[in-house]
């Protein structure tokens, strides 16, 4: 990588970082939440509304839409356990449609970035593709291969997504959903500059290998979603040219700039004069990598139709006449998970303080072993929490990977047991 490129990258990274505080507040409001209507004001009204909802839900002619809101940080707030729980609940509800409402923050490894800072996208390629792939299997193979998963009419549920924002690795998961509706100002991307991943580290051929296998995984997800696989490359690499023209309502792609619309101009490659400027980036006008907006996504066949409101959405999905939207269950599951993970991280530090507060002193072996017993109890508690939340817990917050901690604690437990055995 050239020095100017490095400087540019460094500058942009800093600029993106500076925007964190301002941006984070907006990103986590969860503004677009279908059925975010004012709750009934009195107990009676609430009871009545619930009874009406249940009665409607029981009607065989009414389509049940089970809403799974994906909010927050991908891999932490959005991870296997809450997804598994939500899908199990959807199965129990015999939902006709499982609808993912996607409004994730552009957060990677605990840092939230401004949406225009697409250069950060390369950081999406760490654990991102693997987590996205594993989550996607839950609603693809997981539902398909589960013989007991049936809707009330004996079929399988439709899987759909309503997208406001999927920046970062959540974009990969989003594009594996086969039926997508975008709100008019939606954005899906933030996974670009894969071609800079591992830049300056080792040999170029190995860097390319690492990039290639990651792109291959992402392409697989795009194929699962049923979308043109070429868009994966345009979203991932900034050194490619891709344009398209519409023929018979379908996009015809060209690997150069000769199409009617340019998707990416290879500005991250050798053509430095085409590189996105800051002015273009902050206005979302850059095209070194592809960030899908509602308009382009529609033309590429990714966005079935724009849906600004729930009414638009159900109308576009063809279920506007009779449906119920089950909104609260999955929301609670995901919120609870986020809270539990946060609690576990806080408890981790406190437990170690408690552990260190116990000094193994005493006149008799019984007294000393009693204190050791208390230490063991704390260690076992820490271990239990780590094992329960290991998929989401932040290694940074607990200063080490949960797996490593568990291993360390096992050795500590062994040592204490030996001390107890010898101190008799």
């Amino acid at each position: 990588m050239t020095t100017s490129r490095l400087n540019w990258l460094k500058y942009l990274t800093v600029a993106a970082g500076l925007a964190i505080g301002l941006h984070a507040g907006i990103a986590n409001t969860g503004a677009m939440q279908p059925n975010d209507k004012a709750p009934a004001k009195t107990e009676n009204e609430r009871t009545q509304a619930k009874a009406e909802f249940e009665a409607k839900k029981a009607d065989p002619g009414v389509k049940r839409i089970y809403l799974i809101p994906l909010r927050g940080e991908f891999g932490r707030d959005i991870s296997q356990t809450p997804m598994r729980r939500a899908l199990a609940d959807a199965k129990k509800e015999q939902a006709d449609i499982i609808l993912f409402s996607i409004d994730t923050s552009f957060t990677i490894d605990g840092q939230t970035y401004n949406e225009w800072a697409t250069i950060i996208g390369q950081r999406s390629w760490g654990q991102g593709p693997e987590t996205a792939r594993e989550l996607a299997t839950m609603f693809h193979e997981g539902i398909r291969d589960d013989a007991t998963w049936k809707t009330r009419d004996g079929g399988k549920p439709r899987i759909a997504g309503w997208v406001r924002k999927a920046m970062g690795p959540s974009a990969m998961l989003t594009l594996s959903i086969p039926e997508l509706y975008f709100v008019p100002d939606a954005r899906v991307g933030g996974i670009g500059y894969l071609n800079l991943l591992f830049d300056g580290q080792g040999d170029e051929v190995v860097q390319e290998k690492q990039r290639s296998l990651r792109l291959g995984r992402f392409e697989g997800m795009v194929r699962d979603g049923g979308y043109p696989v070429i868009i994966a490359r345009a979203m991932a690499r900034s050194d490619q040219e891709l344009s398209f023209s519409q023929e018979g309502g379908k996009p015809i792609f060209k690997y150069d700039l000769s199409g009617d619309e340019v998707l990416v101009d290879g500005g991250g490659g050798p053509n430095k004069e085409r590189r996105d400027t800051f002015e273009q980036l902050v206005r979302f006008e850059g095209n070194d990598v592809l960030t899908l907006n509602a308009n382009v996504a529609y033309k590429l066949g990714v966005n079935k139709q724009n849906a600004a409101t729930e009414d638009d959405l159900v109308s576009n999905m063809g279920v506007e006449r009779n449906y119920v939207m089950i909104t609260d269950r999955a929301r609670k599951i995901f919120r609870d998970w986020t809270e539990e993970v946060g609690n576990a991280e806080r408890a981790f530090a406190k437990s170690w303080r408690d552990y260190n507060d116990i000094q193994v002193r005493g006149a008799t072996a019984a007294e000393r072993n009693s204190l050791r017993g208390r230490r063991l109890s704390i260690l076992n508690n820490i271990k239990r929490e780590l094992e329960k939340y290991k998929e989401s817990i932040s290694a940074e917050k607990i200063e080490g990977a949960p797996k490593q901690w568990v291993s360390e604690i096992n050795v500590m437990i062994d040592r204490i047991r030996q001390e107890m055995r010898l101190d008799r």
Binding site: Q80, V206, K209, G216, R223, Q418
Partner: protein, 445 residues
């Protein structure tokens, strides 16, 4: 996490790795090289072309590779010009009923049996007997959420795939589907797998690869199989060999690897250019004629651009099928059977599937706990050493138990000798365990 070659530290480990990687094609024959300086080297000539001779020699019971320049060599005497491959996988520690995977000679009863078996599959299908299909997971499927490791040579072992054959035969399996989901692993296992699939599986069963994700060694290991099918999300490629801090294999070692894969491509009837673009930055394109013939080009002049010159190739399912690398796309077992042209079939040999899965589970568990077992062992030894002689016995007993546990873990997979060796700071071979036992015995004296 997954890589083609793991980063080993130290020359010794690298030598061990290289040695192991080549074991698959070494044999006991004694070729002789007389050097111009008068030295006589005896071993197995691995390669003798392009002015380079690779000689595998036994030194202290280990294979050591010597790279010789033809300029320095006076004569090369090959004892047998057509050496028979003796694959490593089912070694002495394999069960007695595990088959040998030496290639049966053409006129041997075994070969005839294999031939009959192949004919039998076709005949049975013609006579209406459902084809019996077994699935072996080459890496845990993604739907298992990464519960087991997927590393070739660690969780995926040629030893286990060799040992499972009696179960497949007992169940009269006709078709073995190798379902692949792995991010790669150790190079040395690739040769073992290639030989096992080529010399045993393909002779006994219709052997089919079904790809969820086959990266690096996971793509190269089954490369000799002709029949590939992809899942919709499937991908295969990314075969650049590396170690350490993303350092690529270079020079003669790279040439050896390229040549090795050229050979595997030929065995599969596949154009070697495809794999070459997966290994090094070479462009790839192809033309497909009206009659379906695909012509490959190691440049971008073909009608279909498959790989750009500066990239490493990983094929997605769309391109794999379009270019006829894969025979079809299938996401379920039934779709796969249909894609294979079967109308009557049954899925059998679940015990074989479980056998392979259990190996992966054990390897994962051992990997997770080996380091702490080593630490517990060292702790026990340390305590024993500090105790007065009369109180040592229980501590030594405990250390012995942990040592046996370590030995049991290493015994699961021959590769664990060096794979776990990195954690213990030594190669965990027989000598290591004997030395440790001796150390413990001395503590009791």
């Amino acid at each position: 996490m997954n890589c083609f070659t793991r980063s080993f530290s130290g020359t010794l480990a690298a030598l061990a790795f290289l040695g192991a990687a080549f074991l698959a094609t070494s044999n006991a024959l004694a070729d002789k090289i007389i050097m111009k300086d008068g030295r006589v080297l005896v071993g197995k000539v691995q390669r003798n072309e392009g002015g380079i001779i690779i000689l595998v020699r036994k030194v202290d019971g280990k294979d050591v590779f010597e790279y010789l320049s033809a300029d320095d060599v006076k004569t090369v005497t090959i004892e047998d010009a057509t050496p028979v491959k003796t694959p490593e996988a089912p070694k002495a520690d394999a069960p007695k009923d595990a088959p040998k995977i030496d290639a049966p000679k053409a006129d041997s009863p075994d070969a005839k049996k294999a031939d009959n078996k192949k004919k039998g599959v076709a005949d049975r299908q013609l006579t209406g007997r459902p084809a019996r299909i077994a699935f072996l997971n080459f890496g845990s499927p993604a739907r298992n959420q990464g519960a087991e490791g997927d590393m070739v040579g660690v969780n995926i072992s040629a030893k286990a795939f060799a040992e499972v054959i009696p179960l497949l035969e007992k169940q009269q399996v006709d078709i073995v589907v190798i379902r692949i989901n792995s991010g790669g692993g150790y190079t040395l296992e690739m040769g073992r797998f290639a030989d096992l699939f080529e010399q045993v599986y393909k002779k006994k069963f219709r052997t089919v690869a079904w790809v969820e994700s086959a990266i690096s060694a996971a793509a190269m290991s089954p490369w000799t199989i002709e029949e590939f099918y992809m899942m919709t999300s499937g991908n295969i490629g990314g075969c650049t060999e590396w170690s350490g801090n993303l350092n690529a294999t270079k020079g003669i070692n790279l040439e050896v690897r390229l040549q090795q894969m050229e050979g595997y491509s030929k065995l599969a009837g596949r154009d070697p250019k495809i794999m070459r673009s997966m290994q090094i930055q070479e462009p790839l394109s192809c033309n497909i004629e009206e009659n379906g013939t695909v012509t490959w080009f190691q440049d971008t002049t073909g009608q279909i651009l498959v790989n750009r010159g500066n990239e490493i190739l990983t094929l997605n399912s769309e391109m794999a099928v379009k270019t006829k690398f894969a025979k079809g796309i299938a996401d379920t077992k039934d779709e796969l059977a249909k894609a294979m042209g079967l109308s009557e079939y049954e899925f059998v040999a679940l015990d074989a599937t479980k056998f392979i899965d259990r190996f992966a589970e054990d390897a994962t568990r051992f990997e997770e706990t080996f380091r702490e077992t080593v630490r517990k062992y060292l702790l026990a030894v340390n305590i024993a050493e500090q105790m007065p002689l009369e109180r040592r016995a229980p501590e030594v007993g405990r250390a012995q138990k942990l040592l046996s546990e370590m030995e049991r873990m290493v015994g699961l997979n021959p590769n664990f000798e060096f794979h776990f060796g990195n954690m213990a700071g030594a190669t965990l071979d027989r000598d290591f365990f004997e030395e440790q036992r001796e150390r413990l015995r001395k503590l009791l004296k």
